[in-house]
């Protein structure tokens, strides 16, 4: 019977490895092309390994002759701006929803649950009109504004704060701690794992987002990473795929590297939306 177990194990390895090759193929092709000399792009199918290392010129073009670095800086700014406001507004509100009785609490939580079902595409039209009327289109504010509200963050942090021990809150109040102090000095530090997971979720979502930036941004100065790579591709009419793939590598790299470094936190942060 042993040979059957061996056969099953080998078969499962073959299937998993085949799948893994398919999953990795785009990454491999991207990396190989990013170091391929321009003149070899045409014969690449038959000679996949570049004859010489042309990464220098390809990455130099992506770094110094394209909008990709600018888009990456913009992406980092937009992601951090969004995250800062999200945490500053959602954490105290979630604490209030979880632990304090105040008028309108039930309605607010009901709205949060309702909001979970609504993607950006739904309020996009009215928000666009409002931004156009106030002359705020094509600004960093326009890129960030709709995401200042995070119903998912509110929901997640509320769930977390509900598990915080009531005795500690009572003791802190007896010691004369105000609610503001309790939130930021007791509850928030205890919620750091949840905050970390949420931060990963938020940054990944907004670094990668295309729909909203495509709508509100027209100038290259405000391009986010997806818009940066799109513009680079459309400008590359000559077909310098090496530089384009170098640009794609640069834009994909931060999140992929972060994922490889903090694997568990990433998987948790990204699948949290589905496991809520």
């Amino acid at each position: 019977m042993r040979w059957r177990a061996c056969l099953a194990s080998a078969l499962s390895h073959v299937m998993l490895a085949t799948g893994a090759v398919l999953m990795l193929a785009p990454f491999v092709w991207m990396l190989l092309t990013s170091i391929r000399p321009a003149e070899e792009v045409f014969g690449a199918v038959f000679n996949p390994i570049p004859s010489r290392f042309a990464g220098g010129e390809n990455y130099a073009q992506a770094l110094f002759a394209s909008n990709v670095p600018r888009a990456m800086v913009n992406g980092a700014m937009v992601c951090l701006g969004i995250l800062a406001v999200q945490l500053a507004t959602a954490l105290p509100a979630a604490y209030a929803l979880a632990r304090l009785r105040f008028p309108g609490r039930g309605i607010l939580f009901g709205l949060v649950l309702f909001g979970l079902t609504i993607p950006i595409q739904v309020p996009a039209l009215p928000l666009y009109l409002a931004l156009a009327k106030t002359g705020l289109l094509d600004t960093f504010f326009a890129l960030m504004f709709p995401f200042f509200l995070t119903v998912f963050g509110l929901f997640l942090f509320r769930q977390f704060f509900r598990t915080y021990p009531e005795e500690i809150l009572q003791a802190a109040r007896l010691d004369g701690m105000g609610e503001f102090e309790i939130v930021w000095r007791l509850a928030v530090p205890a919620a750091l794992p949840a905050i970390g997971a949420f931060s990963i979720f938020s940054v990944v979502a907004h670094w990668n987002d295309l729909y909203w930036p495509l709508i509100v941004v027209t100038s290259t100065d405000r391009a986010t990473p997806p818009l940066g790579i799109l513009a680079f591709r459309d400008a590359e009419t000559g077909g310098n795929y090496g530089a384009l793939m170098a640009g794609a590598t640069l834009i994909t790299a931060p999140l992929v590297v972060a994922f490889l470094v903090a694997r568990r936190a990433f998987v948790r942060g990204l699948t949290m939306t589905a496991l809520k």
């Binding site: 929803l97 309020p123 409002a130 609610e179 990473p225």
Partner: protein
């Protein structure tokens, strides 16, 4: 006031901190509530009102048109094609996205030393920027420069230009969508699989469940059903919202073969600026999404009861 305070001193003493807590609660919730109002609720009301007008961005005059926008949608060939394509896309992605991910998860879970290695590889596309990776796919699928066309030709299917063939473009986008989401679903199934108690397998073995397939059908599949339902819905929702790959790779073409709901909505609302009509379309999209989400919420409740 003094009399009331004297007659119910204990209640008053308790009421003061209560009021203080209520005040703190309201103050903490206020910024988020304000954002909820301006970013979600007010736009939603405006959206519904807009959908009843013929408003175009920049137009001077606006008329109420009642349900004319909704009526137009049902006769609009582009919208009907978009609905058809979107459902077709979901139908492509859903079975492979659910059962493929389940198969990968089952295989990965059985591995001990290489488990995390495979987990990383299959999850990699989930973390990568889809727009950037779509430009890579475009290159991979390029009829003269990419490796996919000669590979398919080598298998005897002829030289195909997958993204420019009206019969194949949508399915090609579905394959890319599948590539991107498979790892995500795999992780959900892995979580579901690891929650199944070992004893159940032992009990099933005592009951005469012999092979791997028997074990799967008697224990894994029934125990996993809440996860499976859940993955089905989340996959449907995310496939329903396909947008990035359409923008990068096909722009709705060839011949409208990849016009999907969100892409058509984007064009009407932000390219042709037919705001009223796009608002009506958005309302329809919202109805679809809310129906799916309600289903999802019901399933979560059920899952909570199971646990």
């Amino acid at each position: 006031m003094a009399v009331a305070a004297a007659s119910v001193p204990r209640a008053a003493r308790r009421a003061a901190p209560d009021r203080r807590l209520a005040l703190a609660g309201a103050a903490f919730a206020a910024p988020a509530a304000l954002l909820l109002l301006t970013i979600l609720l007010a736009p939603l009301v405006v959206l519904v009102l807009l959908s009843l007008t013929d408003y175009r961005l920049g137009a001077v005059a606006v008329r109420w048109v009642g349900l004319a926008n909704y009526a137009e949608m049902f006769t609009d060939p582009v919208f009907r094609r978009a609905i058809r394509n979107t459902f077709l896309y979901v139908a492509f992605v859903l079975p492979a996205g659910v059962f493929g991910a389940l198969a990968v998860a089952a295989l990965v879970q059985a591995r001990t030393r290489t488990r995390s290695f495979y987990e990383v590889i299959y999850f990699l596309p989930v973390t990568s920027t889809l727009v950037a990776m779509a430009t890579v796919w475009q290159f991979l699928l390029h009829p003269t420069l990419g490796p996919v066309t000669p590979l398919i030709a080598g298998l005897g299917f002829g030289r195909l230009d997958l993204l420019n063939d009206p019969d194949l473009a949508l399915a090609t986008l579905a394959v890319i969508g599948l590539w991107q989401m498979l790892g995500f679903n795999m992780v959900l199934f892995l979580a579901g699989l690891s929650a199944i108690p070992r004893e159940l397998y032992e009990a099933a073995a005592l009951d005469g469940a012999a092979g791997a397939i028997d074990r799967f059908l008697r224990v894994t599949w029934p125990m996993l059903s809440p996860t499976t339902m859940f993955v089905t819905i989340t996959t449907t929702i995310s496939a329903f919202k396909v947008f990035d790959t359409v923008v990068v790779l096909t722009r709705g073409g060839p011949l409208g073969a990849t016009d999907t709901l969100l892409y058509v909505l984007y064009l009407e609302g932000f390219h042709y600026f037919r705001t009223g009509y796009a608002a009506a379309m958005t309302v329809i999209v919202l109805v679809f999404l809310c129906a799916l989400s309600l289903l999802q919420a019901r399933l979560i409740e059920r899952r909570v009861h199971y646990a």
